[in-house]
Amino acid sequence: MAKLFKIYKLRLFNQALKAIISYPLRSFFCLIGISLGILSITLIIASIEGANKKALQLFSDFGPDAILIFSGSEQLRSARIRINTLTFDDMEAIRNHIIGCYETIPMIPVRNMTVAYGDKKWRTLGIGSTTEYFTSWGWRISDGNSFSEEDIEEFNNVAVIGQEIVKQVFNGDPQSAIGKTILLNNKPFYIAGVLKERGISFGSMVLDDRIIMPITTVMRELLNERKYIGAIRARFYGDLNSRIEDVVSLLRERHGLKGEMPNDFTIRTAEDAKQFLLVLQGTLVLFLGITGSISLVVGGFVMANLFMISVQERSSEIGIRRAFGAKKNHIITQILLECVIIALAGSLIGLILSFIAGKLILAYTTIPISFSYKVFWITALVATIVGVISGLYPAKRAASLNPVEALFA
């Protein structure tokens, strides 16, 4: 019985396939409509997956147990006004007085630092920090070495450069950079090592475009700063939220902030970084979601319309099939099969197009795109649903035709 059923369905499938091939123009326009819709849907799914993947990576890069304390209030930071309010003493206090704190690292930025080597010039972000910078961020040295504790104590002009600097100044050859002396804001620095490639960017900010130096050297040689530092990275055991509360009250007390006075510092966590990325991504998803849904709906309408016309054109065929024993269900099944086969073929074309589009997006933008097998199943399901919905009305119309009238129309 089951075998009989299979043969029976297969025959209808064959009929549907023959009809699809025999009406190439109709099939072609339906295919285009559906594939464009599926293209958008696939890109949405891929960009959501890409964003999630990136967010997860960012989360682990940042460290789920870490916070970043910046100088300056939220308001000043969003207005891009930089003032330094944090000190080494603040950092020591956090390390000594906050329970569960097991690591603190000071950082100070040198924005728009000039890099000069031979006739090559570049502008980058300089960061002064300690040797723990590399271990704490999980950012390994790919070539050469880090600077040492001695370098920090002795204010040595030593630098570890990011891959973007290697690309821009040393023609992409990290080995050739090691041991060279470059000018940073016109001060000579010895290159001890090269950072491993991170490959992530935040809008226009490329993470690999940076140079790390001993914080002591940066403060004295480049910034002429004696007291204040830009930011503190701290890591804790235990519940992060209650640790953050402790840090806030400690710093407020140390900075003499009373009552309603706003914080003169800003705390960021991995969660914030993730949120930031997801908000960025949200705009894209919304845009693609709307266009994707619209183009799928339009594709569906095109298909429904073309099939309505087709059913009218083929009324004689439907009459013949009915005369030779086709039941209403046979007619409905055949038309629906035609729609679903076209829709599935369209989704396959849409998938192929989206792989190409995905490659282009990855090559020319910073939008993360990630494809998985899930996309394949989701688009197949969506296409089937669109096919069935588009085909249902034409199919029912075809089946409800009076056989005599259909035959002699």
Binding site: K18, A323, K327, K328, N329, V404
Partner: protein
């Protein structure tokens, strides 16, 4: 068995509505058709013969009256049951051939088997031998548009035979053909009758009707 007609129509009436006006096309038809008969139903256009054919072929329902097939009342059959009945018991041959234009001769012949519950082995082989018998062996893979009228009608006859129906129901089978081809097609139909098929031919031509053993004349919705 011999005395049970294969088709028995009792007081078949059919009316259509044109606007509010009811027009009675068939006014109480009584026919008995026995197995292996060849019957011509002859009438002028407007006599109701096409409507009668549609009712005999179960493409349409009578307004009143009884239709017995081998003694069984099929007036009460629903749409699906009528479809299966047509599939198993009736082989249509039409004036305009009515082949599906986008599939080849072989696929057109196989068409009725698609909707058949019988699992016929070697459907393809059977279709090819039917086409060969009808002299179409070198046209098996041609599309209908590549065939002449006579050739198309041969394909249509092969299609009517594929499911081994009890009755071949031909509606003006030669209406679109020239005299020579007409007589060839009639030769095929009469030879089928000689091999034991029940043949019903609807026509308005006396010459065609004369080829059948029995003639039923219909005029103004009544048998005369």
């Amino acid at each position: 068995m011999e005395n049970i007609p294969i088709i028995e129509l009792k007081e078949i009436r059919k009316s259509f509505f044109i606007g509010n006006r009811e027009i009675e096309v068939l006014k109480g038809i009584n026919i008995k058709i026995y197995e292996k008969e060849s019957i011509a139903i002859i009438g002028q256009s407007g006599s109701g013969k096409t409507t009668l054919m549609n009712i005999i072929g179960c493409m349409d329902r009578a307004t009143s009256g009884t239709y017995l097939f081998k003694g069984k009342d099929i007036t009460t059959f629903n749409d699906d049951e009528l479809s299966s009945f047509r599939n198993e018991s009736i082989g249509f041959v039409f004036q305009q051939f009515h082949l599906i234009p986008y599939i080849n001769a072989l696929d057109n012949v196989i068409l009725p088997t698609i909707y058949s519950k019988k699992n016929i082995d070697n459907v393809k082989q059977k279709a090819i031998s039917l086409l060969t018998e009808l002299g179409m062996h070198d046209r098996i893979y041609n599309k209908p548009t590549q065939l002449s009228g006579g050739q198309q009608q041969r394909v249509a006859i092969a299609r009517a035979l594929i499911n081994d129906p009890e009755i071949i129901l031909a509606d003006e089978p030669t209406g679109a053909l020239d005299t020579k081809t007409s007589s060839e097609i009639m030769d095929i139909l009469t030879s089928l009758n000689e091999k034991g098929k029940t043949i019903i031919i609807i026509t308005h031509e006396q010459e065609i009707a004369n080829r059948c053993k029995k003639i039923i004349r219909i005029s103004d919705g009544k048998i005369v």
